[in-house]
């Protein structure tokens, strides 16, 4: 699978798949791709629906973090899910065959195009893995106010 993601053909396919399978809006259609993919912008968000082919909580494929390969109606998409510990702390499991919905947007990193997830949803459970500015959610942000308060005094 790693080879699939890294191969040039796969990248082209991925870009095509991203262009076809995500919901788009008028603003997206008017922006050059290079400009569009530079950084996260919530106004460009779209969503993917598909089936998990593979999940890796700490992938060796950049960008560093959790990745899943999603089978959509038009092809496979590499989805970056941020810090895998956020999913773990949320007791959110992903296994091959799971149906998921992902809110986010496509970004580029070097020669790689991937779908940067902000929210991943399986059934009725949804986890936010990025904030609205695109920065990754950390496990610490999942703590309740009481749990955060308990950190006072920790040395």
């Amino acid at each position: 699978m790693k080879a699939l993601i890294r191969s040039k053909a796969a990248i082209v396919a991925l870009v095509i798949a991203l262009a076809l399978c995500i919901s788009t809006n008028a603003q997206q259609a008017t922006q050059p791709v290079a400009q569009q993919l530079r950084s996260y912008d919530i106004s460009r968000e779209s969503f993917l629906v598909g089936t998990v082919l593979k999940f890796d909580s700490a992938s060796s494929t950049p960008p560093i973090g959790a990745h899943l390969i999603l089978q959509t109606s038009v092809g496979q998409v590499d989805v970056h899910l941020g810090n895998g510990k956020v999913l773990k702390a949320s007791h959110f499991e992903l296994n091959p065959g799971d149906s998921v919905r992902i809110v986010g947007e496509p970004l580029t990193l070097g020669d790689t195009t991937y779908f940067a997830a902000r929210i991943v949803q399986k059934g009725t459970q949804a986890v936010s893995v990025r904030n609205t500015r695109g920065f990754l959610t950390t496990p610490a942000s999942l703590m309740t106010p009481a749990e955060k308060e308990a950190l006072r005094g920790v040395r």
Partner: protein, 527 residues
């Protein structure tokens, strides 16, 4: 010594996670040098930034420490005080009532600080002189583990006097904001005027990159004063409280030239303010820089590079980027411009672009003609927002050509960042002492990887390596890119790209590794 022996056994038995396994067994060399217990003698201000796992119910939480300890020159810690901000939750200052330390001949050692309640925190240290050193947090108790990188600096003779804090200070405070539940990374740099006699900060200028959103301008008047609830802490340790641009901080005076800050509201920011000498009339010279932070790709971004500033233009630009473990060498940089520079404040802005047209922009504040702080404000496709949040240091390059003759002797080495191993992605901190002989490195390291299941630091790891003047441009000896390989015992080589600031200092970041690793650090000569 007991720890050394125990660790030697452990190091021989265990490879380092996330280093790909393999490698050869490296026996730590016998410590050699002129350091000893007497080398750590006086009151030192320390700071670290990293993570803590308290109870380990959750994954690690960001943690920043700042404090002061007294070393008696004989292996004992006789007092001190510490402030902590854990995940945006500051704690009341806690008195350090005792502790101990060791210092080997090579400057490596341990530091244990014990609090009134009997709890202790532990650090691995490397002295770079009798006045300063590098450290990593190596605390591991039954209920808590914490890591992080930082340093300690000898403070002036007591008692501290507020009126000595007078003049313009350049600052760099980094961390995250107070947004809930998901904080944004934040870089807050600038300069302010301190009037210690009046206890005020009457004016200042700042650049804030808060989750990519850029705000800059003059800051509202603030304060800098003793903490009324801790008057003795000011007299003995230089600890006070301040309000800078509306945000509350605790501070520790190192001396009139440096103040260490930690925020106590609105998130977690920490860093130093350095007394500014008269800014130069123009921004001119050879400079190396290192920034670290985040972007949308992950919580790991580092950039290291160099350029030659000539008034309004930049030349000889080279940059290496490690963005979420995607490593890129930028060689064909163009349109190097210093778009603004104010010799009254030392603030300026520079930019250049890569071969794809991507523009890189930085704001900087000079604290002297050859040093300052720098913030990445590279534009995104959203007006008013940068595409990354990162900041760090900019230093004038000197002492070239760099050769095996002057890149020689004993060095302290520290890196910090993120590594992926054991199915986890988390922080890694390393502190070493190495000796460079004909550009070959030999020494000993401590490393703490928060990816391990038992969150246990590893001590006294045999270390060797090689510095090679074989960068992409082939001219590394004049201050451009060089490479460094670090071998930790029984692990695969860890590759770094290095920009030498001077024969006594270099910036580096990870590059060309099979294992995803986003770390950056410094190599600093020992005196």
């Amino acid at each position: 010594m007991k720890r050394l022996l125990t660790a030697l056994v452990a190091a021989a038995a265990l490879g380092i996670s996330g280093c790909g396994g393999g490698g050869t067994n490296i026996t730590p060399p016998p410590p050699s040098g002129n350091f000893g217990l007497a080398s750590l003698n006086g009151t030192y201000a320390f700071t670290t930034s990293g993570e803590v796992c308290a109870g380990c119910t959750f994954a690690a939480t960001p943690m920043a420490r700042v404090g002061s300890f007294i070393a008696d020159g004989m292996g004992h810690i006789t007092g001190g005080i510490e402030d902590v901000n854990t995940g945006g939750a500051p704690s009341s200052p806690s008195s350090i009532t005792g502790g101990s330390y060791t210092v080997n001949a090579d400057g490596r050692g341990t530091l244990t600080l014990t609090f009134q309640n009997g709890n202790s925190i532990n650090f691995g240290i490397v002295l770079t002189s009798t006045a300063d050193g590098l450290m990593i947090d190596e605390t591991r108790t039954g209920t808590q583990a914490s890591t992080g990188s930082g340093n300690f600096i000898l403070q002036q003779s007591t008692p501290f006097v507020l009126s000595e804090l007078t003049g313009n200070y350049v600052f760099d405070f980094a961390g995250f904001d107070g947004a809930q539940p998901n904080p944004n990374p934040e870089s807050f740099i600038g300069d302010f005027t301190a009037d210690g006699t009046a206890g005020t900060i009457p004016a200042g200028l700042f650049d804030d990159n808060d989750g990519g959103q850029l705000i800059n301008g003059g800051m509202n008047p603030g304060t800098i004063s003793q903490d009324p609830s801790q008057p003795a802490a000011f007299t003995n340790f230089g600890r006070g409280t301040a309000t800078v641009a509306g945000q509350n901080f605790v501070f520790y005076i190192v001396n009139s030239g440096r103040i260490r800050f930690l925020s106590t509201n609105n998130g977690m920011l920490s860093g130093d303010a350095v007394l500014q000498s008269t800014p130069p009339a123009g921004f001119i010279g050879d400079f190396a820089f290192l920034v670290g932070g985040s972007d949308s790709n992950s919580n790991g971004l580092t950039r290291v590079g160099r350029f030659t500033a000539s008034g309004n233009t930049l030349g000889k630009m080279l940059v290496d980027v490690n963005d979420a473990a995607n490593e890129v060498q930028l060689n064909n940089l163009s349109n190097g411009t210093i778009s603004s520079y104010d010799s009254n404040t030392g603030r300026g802005q520079l930019s250049f672009q890569d071969s794809t047209g991507q523009v890189y922009t930085f704001v900087f504040y000079l604290s002297s003609p050859n040093s300052g702080v720098i913030q990445d404000v590279s534009p995104s496709n959203t007006a008013g927002f940068a595409r990354v949040v990162a900041d760090g240091s900019i230093l004038g390059q000197s002492g070239s050509p760099f050769t095996s003759s002057n890149i020689s002797g004993s060095y302290a080495l520290n890196w910090s960042g993120i590594v992926t191993s054991n199915g986890n992605q988390d922080e890694e901190d390393l502190v070493s002492q190495v000796t460079a002989t004909n550009l070959s490195l030999s020494g000993t390291s401590d490393i703490f990887q928060f990816t391990t299941t038992n969150l246990t630091p590893q001590f006294d790891i045999g270390t060797n390596g090689q510095i090679s003047f074989n960068g992409g441009d082939g001219t590394g000896d004049d201050g451009k890119r060089v490479s460094m390989t670090v071998n930790l015992s029984n692990t695969s080589p860890i590759n770094m790209v290095v920009y030498i600031v001077s024969p006594q200092l270099a910036f580096f970041q990870s590059a060309n590794n099979n294992v995803p690793r986003i770390v950056a650090g410094i190599l600093k000569g020992q005196r």
